[in-house]
Amino acid sequence: MTKKFEYKEINVEKITTGVFQVRDKNPSKNLDALAKGIKTMGLLQPIGLAKSKETEKSDKYDYEILWGQRRHLAFKRLGMTTIPALVMEDVLSKAQGKKYALQENLIREDMSRSDIWNTIREFYIEFDDPEKCADEFGIPLPLVKDALKANLLERIEGGKELFEFAQSLDIPKQTAFKVVDISKNRDNVSVDNKKGQEFCKILSTESTVMRNKLISAAKKTPQGDPQGWLAQAKAEKNYKKRTVELEESFDDALKLLAGKLDSSPEDVILETLLELLESEELI
């Protein structure tokens, strides 16, 4: 259920910037310009506040900022004692707070990829599922995927080194990203460098078709190893599906024949066809 905000004037000293923040860029940047604007025009949009576990324990602070961190700083810089705010009296968890913060930021302006990553980070590490993240935080899936990719090398320990190693072997950028992703340890925050490098060496001497098969094998069995993925990729066959239509009377006869041979209709067709192809020396 949607929680309720109430408009209030809150003492600026009772507000803290805590765990709900999603922006990681320097909030003090161009603060003078913002303060000047507020002095001239007043505050056009109230900031958003809620209670958190931290504020509940604190004697000093009553609320945490959901959105409007820079406006709060500007008010303090201007020496103002209270600030207009939309206030939620409920105690929000970190994830709930981030969700509100993110939504407001997304509406107000495009968030940077790192902002999105900071929001979904803990949830993603736990579930390793972009779709779940998109659902949980209400962020469009393409934005989540974009943020994950952009931050892959920074957020995965050893990721950048592995990516550079792959590039040194002329592995294309897109494939190198996939190698880093595939080589993640179970902790989801570091890579198995040895495994990753071995995989890169195999990929570097294969054609694109085989590379795609290798990546697919690795994704199917992430707990496997590069030699196993190679075996899997080599053993994979390309199948073509053909549909044939049989008159009902033929189909009945085919079923009878299959019954007699203790086989299935499909196997009878396949076996007959293979024999014919073989006798014609086509296979």
Binding site: T205, S207, V209, Q223, A231, A235, S263, V268, L274
Partner: protein, 243 residues
């Protein structure tokens, strides 16, 4: 708008053949007919952009490819390039023609190898451009000689004539965690021993991969599907029971 210096008939040749695959019309001319008109149009002062616009093409890519193939593909192979739905040239009994996309890939192979690659695809009835691309990439990426590359590509595409290969599905991770954790060579060795026990024909290779067991023999086993199925079940059961 018109194209400078070429006749209506020549425009028709361009229009019916270039970027024509989704139009429903069959290609009417050969690559050489078309490239001849295209070169003439360029000589008469039409730019690729002019021609693309006139032919209602989204981009100049297809025009550029014609010129690239003409300039880079061994001249002796020009006559084998065909347009149209792949079925049209795939049905050719002699199997000597290559589709436009295949020619595009072939023109990117180093000149010295082009004819050999062409002979390789014709001989082995390879009708897709992927195999040519693979050969080209393996020339760049490996130290293998061209014959070794051909062998590798044939094996990987499952079109090798000197062996018969079939696969049985398995989920090694859940069915046999002990085997799953072993090194690949050991897994293959164990699997080969088990297969040998049940399948009484000459085995060339056995690969126990994560989701398939691949068995490679000289010839197709002369067994009915029921007999083969029973043998396969026994093999899989023994792999599952492996401790």
């Amino acid at each position: 708008m018109t194209l400078k210096g070429i006749s209506e008939k020549e425009v028709f040749i361009l229009d019916r053949n270039i970027g024509n695959q989704d139009s429903g019309f069959s290609a009417q001319n050969t690559f050489l007919d078309v490239v001849k008109v295209l070169n003439k149009a360029i000589e008469k002062g039409n730019t690729l952009e002019d021609i693309a616009l006139y032919l209602n093409l989204q981009a100049t890519t297809m025009l550029y490819r014609h010129i690239y193939i003409y300039e880079n593909l061994d001249a002796e192979l020009h006559g084998y390039v065909r347009y149209g739905s792949s079925d049209e040239y795939k049905n050719d009994q002699k199997g000597i023609y290559v589709g436009f996309q295949m020619a595009n890939e072939l023109s990117r192979v180093l000149g010295q190898h082009q004819k050999k690659v062409y002979e390789f695809i014709v001989k082995n009835k390879l009708r897709g451009w992927n195999e040519i691309k693979s050969v080209r990439e393996l020339i760049d990426r490996t130290n293998l000689n061209i014959d070794e590359i051909f062998k590798k590509v044939l094996l990987e595409s499952g079109k090798s004539n000197d062996r018969y290969s079939y696969t049985i599905p398995i989920n090694l991770e859940s069915d046999s965690p002990v085997l799953f954790k072993m090194e690949q060579d050991s897994k293959n060795e164990i699997a080969k021993k088990i297969v040998k026990k049940h399948l009484k024909i000459k085995l060339l290779e056995v690969t126990l991969a994560y989701t398939i067991l691949e068995i490679i023999t000289e010839n197709r086993p002369h067994l009915s599907t029921v007999e083969l199925k029973n043998i396969n079940n026994k093999i899989i059961q023994e792999l599952k029971d492996f401790k």
